[in-house]
C-alpha cells in the first residue's frame, strides 16, 4: 500500500477519540449494545493496526450489518422515528470504523462524523451541547489534519492546535453565513422524537398533580418584558382552562367538543397600554402556550382559543419563541353564551353534598355573585386553612367536602378546585385555570425565569358586567406564595424541592452560586433568543434595522458583500506573504530569538549568518554564552543539517529549540561592550 494512502497512527488515535466523543451525548438514549459495537469496532481496528488481526471479511461485515438492523428493530420496535434512525446512523458509523484502511475511507468517516455531530441537536439545543459539539468539530478537524501529516508515528497533541487555529480562521465566515444565509424553509419534515415524554402541565388535573410538578426545578419558560417587569403577584401565566369536572379530576374541553360557533374567542375591547413581552418556551411536547390575562400574539402560527388562551398548532418539540401583548384589565366575555354558561356551571351529580349545601346557604345570605365570592374567599382567610405540599390523602367521591370541612390542608389545586366547586354549586359560572404564577427575576438580563415549581392553579369566576374575574383562593390562604414564591411559602415546612437535594435553585441563598446560576441562565436566554430562535423573520428584522427597506437585490448585496468583507482580508494576507512558502517553525523561533535580542539592542543584520551573529551576541552578553550557542546550533542543525541523515531528530530538535527560545530572556548589560548600540 502506498505510504501516502495509509492512515497514520496519529490520525487513527484522533479518530478513536472522535468516535467516542461523538457517541457520548447519545449514550443514555442508545441501547447498551450499540456501545458494545463501538468498543468492538475500535478494538478490532486497533488490533488491525498492531498487525494481529486482519480487516473483517465481506461475509462477516454483512452479518454485522444485518444484526445491527435486527438489533435496532428489536430495541425500538420500528425503524421509523428520530431515535431509531439516529441509532442506526451511529451503529453504521462505528461499523465503518472497522474498515478504515485507506485515506479515502477516513474521509468518508470524518465527513459522516460531522453529520453525526449535527444529530445531537435533534435532541437538545442547549448551550452546553453547542459547546460540546464545537469540541467534537474540533476533534474531527484534528483527525482530518492528522490524516494529512504522513509519517506521524506517534500520537501528537499539537495537531489539535493547528485544527483549532483553522477553525478559528473559519469563524468569521461562519458568523456571516449564520446571520445572512437565506433561511430556506425545511424541505423535509424532521421525524419527531416520539419516545421522550411530555413535560410540564398536563391537560387534566387531579389533586396532587401540581404538587408533584413543583418538585422539579426545570425551567418552564423565560420571559422578557419590554419595559418594567410587573410585580410577582400580577404574573398569572394562564396555560390551561379546565371546565370539566369528572371523577374528581378537572380537565380541559376537547377541541372538538366545542361547537363551531363557540370555537373563536369573543372580541375583547382593550384600553390602555398593553404589556409587551416575548416568551421562550422549553419543549413540552404539548400544544398550549402560556400568557398573561388576555394575551394576543403577533407571532405567526400562534392561535387563540375561545377561553382566551394561546396555543401552537403543533406540539412544542424544541425551544419555541413567541411574542405577546396582554391587557390585564380587559373585560373577557362580557356576554356569556347559553352553551358556555351550561358548561361552566356543570357539576357531577350527588358528589360533595356538604359543599353544595354550604354554597346554596351562603348564596342566599348575600345579594350579588360578587359578594358571595368575597364571602367564600373570606372563609379561607378567617378560618384555619393550611397551605401545604403534604395535604394527606384526599380521594374518593366527596374529596372536596373532606378538604373544605375536615382536613383543611391543601395545595393550590385543592383550593382552586374547591372554590370553583362551591361557585358552580351556587350556580355561578366558574372554572379552574392552571399555569404558572410568579417567576424569578434574573437581574443579569432582566428576564423572568419561570420554573416548574412555579406551577399553580387558580379560579376564574364570571361576574355579570365584569366578565371573567380571576379569583385565587391560595392568595387568601398563603399570601407569601403569591408575593414571594413557593420557597418562602414552604419555608417552615421545608418541603421545597425536598426530592432534589442537589438542585442549584435550592442554594439561592448562597450568593456566589446564585450569581453563577443566574448568569448562566442569562447566557442561555441570549443563546435561545439569538441563535436557536434566529429564523427568517428575525433575519429580515436584522437586515431591516441595518439597511432599511429590504429587496431581493439588497439582500444579495448584503450577503455577498459581507462575505467579501470576510474573505478580502484573507486574500490580502495571502497576497502579502513574502513568498508562497510558509515560514518553517525553526525559522519562526529563530526569528523570535533574534527579536528578543533586538529588544536589548543586538539586532541581527539581514545578511548576518547565525554563527556570526551568535559570536557578536556572545561578545556583548557573555553570561548568556551557553544559551545563545545552544539555540544557534539547534537552529543551524535543523536548517542546514536536516536531510543529511534523514530528519529523524527533527521533531525533537524543534521541541528543544522552542523550549530554549521561550526560556531565553536576555537582559541588557549596563556597561555592555561594543556589540550594543548606544542607548538613544
Amino acid at each position: 500500500m502506498n505510504v501516502l494512502q495509509q492512515v497514520p497512527r496519529n490520525a487513527l488515535v484522533w479518530g478513536i477519540i472522535c468516535l467516542f466523543a461523538l457517541v457520548a451525548p447519545h449514550a443514555l438514549r442508545l441501547p447498551f449494545w450499540v456501545l458494545g459495537v463501538y468498543l468492538l469496532a475500535v478494538g478490532w481496528r486497533w488490533q488491525v493496526y498492531r498487525g494481529r488481526w486482519s480487516f473483517p471479511r465481506r461475509k462477516l461485515k454483512l452479518a454485522m450489518i444485518v444484526s445491527s438492523f435486527v438489533g435496532i428493530y428489536f430495541s425500538y420496535g420500528s425503524f421509523i422515528g428520530l431515535e431509531p434512525t439516529v441509532a442506526l446512523l451511529l451503529t453504521a458509523f462505528a461499523l465503518k470504523f472497522t474498515e478504515l484502511a485507506h485515506r479515502q475511507d477516513a474521509y468518508v468517516l470524518i465527513f459522516l462524523g460531522y453529520f453525526v455531530c449535527l444529530t445531537e441537536f435533534l435532541f437538545s439545543q442547549d448551550l452546553l451541547m453547542t459547546f460540546y459539539s464545537l469540541l467534537c468539530v474540533t476533534l474531527l478537524t484534528t483527525t482530518l489534519v492528522a490524516l494529512h501529516q504522513p509519517g506521524q508515528h506517534q500520537f501528537n497533541r499539537r495537531t489539535i492546535r493547528l485544527a483549532f487555529v483553522m477553525l478559528l480562521q473559519a469563524l468569521p465566515l461562519m458568523v456571516v453565513l449564520f446571520f445572512l444565509f437565506p433561511r430556506i424553509g425545511p424541505l423535509w419534515k424532521m421525524p419527531t422524537n416520539s419516545h421522550t415524554g411530555t413535560t410540564g402541565m398536563s391537560d387534566f388535573m387531579k389533586p396532587g398533580d401540581i404538587a408533584s410538578l413543583t418538585q422539579s426545578d426545570e425551567v418552564a419558560f423565560r420571559v422578557k418584558f419590554e419595559g418594567e417587569i410587573p410585580p410577582s403577584s400580577d404574573l398569572y401565566w394562564r396555560g390551561l382552562v379546565m371546565s370539566k369536572l369528572e371523577n374528581g379530576a378537572w380537565s380541559t374541553l376537547g377541541l372538538y367538543s366545542v361547537p363551531a360557533k363557540e370555537a373563536r374567542p369573543q372580541a375583547v375591547s382593550t384600553t390602555g397600554d398593553p404589556l409587551i413581552y416575548s416568551v421562550i418556551m422549553e419543549p413540552t411536547n404539548q400544544q398550549w402556550l402560556y400568557g398573561l390575562r388576555y394575551a394576543i400574539s403577533s407571532t405567526p402560527g400562534v392561535m387563540a382559543t375561545s377561553d382566551f388562551r394561546l396555543i401552537s398548532p403543533t406540539p412544542v418539540e424544541v425551544e419555541y419563541i413567541y411574542r405577546a401583548r396582554s391587557w390585564t384589565g380587559a373585560e373577557l366575555e362580557p356576554k356569556l353564551s347559553e352553551w358556555r354558561r351550561k358548561i361552566e356551571t356543570k357539576l357531577p351529580p350527588n358528589a360533595n353534598p356538604r359543599s353544595r349545601a354550604f354554597a346554596l346557604e351562603m348564596r342566599d345570605a348575600v345579594e350579588s355573585d360578587a359578594a358571595f365570592m368575597s364571602l367564600v374567599m373570606n372563609k379561607f382567610t378567617t378560618e384555619t386553612y393550611v397551605y401545604t405540599l403534604k395535604p394527606g390523602q384526599l380521594l374518593g367521591r366527596d374529596a372536596i367536602d373532606q378538604f373544605l370541612f375536615e382536613s383543611r390542608r391543601g395545595f393550590c389545586e385543592h383550593y382552586a378546585s374547591a372554590f370553583v366547586f362551591v361557585m358552580r354549586a351556587a350556580g355561578i359560572p366558574a372554572r379552574v385555570v392552571a399555569g404558572y404564577q410568579g417567576g424569578e427575576v434574573n437581574p443579569v438580563n432582566k428576564t423572568v425565569i419561570v420554573h416548574q415549581f412555579d406551577a399553580h392553579a387558580w379560579a376564574e369566576v364570571w361576574i355579570k358586567g365584569r366578565g371573567w374575574v380571576r379569583a385565587d383562593p391560595t392568595a387568601a390562604v398563603s399570601p407569601t406564595r403569591i408575593e414571594m414564591g413557593l420557597e418562602e411559602a414552604m419555608e417552615s415546612e421545608g418541603s421545597f424541592l425536598s426530592e432534589m437535594p442537589l438542585s442549584p435553585v435550592r442554594y439561592r441563598s448562597v450568593a456566589l452560586l446564585n450569581e453563577l446560576r443566574l448568569r448562566y441562565d442569562a447566557l442561555t436566554y441570549g443563546w435561545q433568543s439569538w441563535v436557536v430562535g434566529f429564523d427568517s423573520g428575525q433575519q429580515m428584522q436584522l437586515l431591516h434595522r441595518v439597511f432599511g427597506e429590504i429587496s431581493a437585490r439588497t439582500f444579495m448585496a448584503a450577503f455577498i458583500g459581507s462575505w467579501a468583507l470576510v474573505l478580502i482580508p484573507v486574500a490580502i494576507s495571502l497576497f502579502r506573504g513574502k513568498d508562497t512558502f510558509p515560514m518553517s517553525p525553526a525559522d519562526k523561533y529563530y526569528r523570535m530569538f533574534c527579536h528578543r535580542l533586538s529588544l536589548i539592542g543586538l539586532k541581527r543584520v539581514s545578511g548576518e549568518a547565525p554563527g556570526d551573529f551568535a559570536r557578536r551576541v556572545v561578545a556583548a552578553i557573555p553570561e548568556e554564552t551557553e544559551q545563545v550557542w545552544n539555540i544557534t546550533s539547534l537552529y543551524a542543525r535543523m536548517a542546514y543539517e536536516t536531510g543529511a541523515d534523514g530528519n529523524r531528530n527533527d521533531q525533537n530538535a524543534l521541541e528543544e529549540l522552542i523550549r530554549a527560545v521561550s526560556k531565553f530572556k536576555p537582559k541588557a548589560q549596563r556597561n555592555a561592550g561594543g556589540g550594543l548600540h548606544p542607548p538613544v
Binding site: 519562526k588 539581514s606 549568518a609 554563527g611 559570536r615 536548517a639
Partner: protein
C-alpha cells in the same frame, strides 16, 4: 578583497554532533589541507585566506584568476600551489604578440617522415600558469577557452584531450593598466574564482624584509603535500557534502537579488550560482563539515561572483561593492 571580511580563524559553527560519517578520514584531510596552507604560507606571508580560497577553487575543479598589481605575489602563489599539489606545470608568459599556436601547439612538416607531426604546446600539462593573461590579444585569450571549458584542444581539425587534472591559474594586472586587453565576460565566467591579493600586512611585510638577507632562511620551493589520490579523496568528500533546503533557499535568494535589484546590470547566471554552491560545498568539506552553512556561502561568495557581476549604469561601485550589498541585504534566515 576590499570591504569583505574573510574571517577564517574562527570556527564557523559549533555543532553538537560529529559531522561526517567518515569523520576520521575527514580529520586526516583537514590535516592535509592545513599542511598545504602552511607550506604555501611559508612563501606567501600573511595571505592565508587567499591561500585557502585558492585551494578551495582547485579542489572544486575550477580555474583560478588572480588579479592584482605587478609585484604583489601573484606568480609566487601560483607556483606554490602547483608545487604543493605536485602537479606537472608549465608557465606561459602572455604578451601582446603571443599567438594561439604558441600555447596550443603546432604541426610541423617533418622532412624525414614526409608528414606533419604535432608538437604539443605548453597547454598540454596538468597546471597551466598563464601569467599576465590580459596582456595577450583577445584572439590568443580565446584559444584557452576550449581548453578551460572542455579539457581538450582542437588544433587543425583534430581534437586532443588534455591530461587530467587540468587547471589554469591565470594572473592579470588590473584592467585599467596600460597595455591590457580586458578579458571578455564569457572568458571571465570560465574562471571559478577571482582572487585579489592586496598589500601584505605590515607585520608580514617586515618578516619578508628580514628573511631577505638572512642566509639561514634560504628560500626553498614548497614540498608536495597532496598527491593526486589524496586530491581524489578530497573531491569525494566534497561530493558527499549536504546542502539543505534552507541553504538552497538562501542561495536562491542571493541569486534572485542579483537579477532583480536595480544596482545589478546583469544577474548571476545559473553557472555562476552552481559555482557558488560548488565552492561552498568544498569550503564546508575543507572545514571538516558534512553540510553547508550560510557562512560557507558568504566566505566564498566574493571570490566566486565579484568578476561575474556587472553593475548597472546607475550604480557607482564595482563588482565588490555589489557583493557587499548581497552579503548585507539578503536575509540568511528564511521566512
Amino acid at each position: 578583497m576590499s570591504g569583505v571580511k574573510v574571517d577564517i580563524n574562527q570556527p564557523i559553527i559549533k555543532t553538537s554532533r560529529g559531522d561526517t560519517s567518515a569523520s576520521k578520514n575527514a580529520r586526516s584531510l583537514q590535516g592535509l589541507i592545513d599542511g598545504a596552507v602552511f607550506e604555501i604560507g611559508q612563501i606567501l606571508l600573511g595571505k592565508e585566506p587567499q591561500i585557502r580560497l585558492a585551494l578551495c577553487c582547485l579542489f572544486a575543479r575550477g580555474h583560478l584568476l588572480i588579479e592584482d598589481l605587478p609585484g604583489m605575489g601573484k606568480t609566487t602563489l601560483s607556483h606554490a600551489l602547483a608545487s604543493v599539489l605536485g602537479l606537472s606545470w608549465t608557465r606561459v608568459q602572455f604578451t601582446s604578440d603571443l599567438l594561439p599556436a604558441d600555447i596550443l601547439g603546432v604541426s610541423i612538416f617533418d622532412a624525414k617522415d614526409s608528414a606533419f607531426t604535432f608538437h604539443p604546446g605548453p597547454v598540454f600539462t596538468q597546471l597551466l600558469l598563464a601569467d599576465e593573461i590580459n596582456r595577450a590579444t583577445p584572439r590568443t585569450q580565446s584559444a584557452l577557452l576550449e581548453a578551460m571549458a572542455e579539457g581538450q584542444v582542437t588544433v587543425e581539425g583534430e581534437t586532443r584531450p588534455l591530461p587530467q587534472p587540468f587547471f589554469v591559474i591565470a594572473t592579470q594586472n588590473p584592467v585599467h593598466q596600460s597595455g591590457t586587453y580586458p578579458l571578455p565576460e564569457s572568458q571571465l565566467d570560465r574562471f571559478l574564482m577571482r582572487l585579489e591579493l592586496g598589500y601584505p600586512h605590515p607585520k608580514a611585510e617586515r618578516e619578508m624584509f628580514q628573511r631577505r638577507h638572512s642566509a639561514a632562511q634560504e628560500i626553498r620551493n614548497p614540498r608536495q603535500c597532496i598527491d593526486p589520490e589524496q586530491l581524489d579523496l578530497i573531491r569525494q568528500a566534497v561530493s558527499q557534502v549536504h546542502a539543505s533546503e534552507d541553504l538552497l533557499d538562501y542561495l536562491q535568494r542571493l541569486v534572485a537579488r542579483t537579477r532583480q535589484a536595480p544596482e545589478f546590470g546583469v544577474g548571476l547566471s545559473p553557472r555562476g550560482a552552481l559555482a557558488v554552491l560548488d565552492c561552498a560545498k568544498t569550503w564546508a568539506a575543507m572545514h571538516n563539515r558534512g553540510h553547508v552553512v550560510p557562512e560557507d556561502v558568504q566566505q566564498v561568495l566574493p571570490a566566486v561572483v565579484s568578476h561575474r557581476l556587472i553593475p548597472s549604469g546607475d550604480y557607482a561601485g564595482d563588482g565588490d561593492g555589489l557583493v557587499d550589498l548581497l552579503l548585507r541585504d539578503v536575509d540568511v534566515v528564511g521566512g
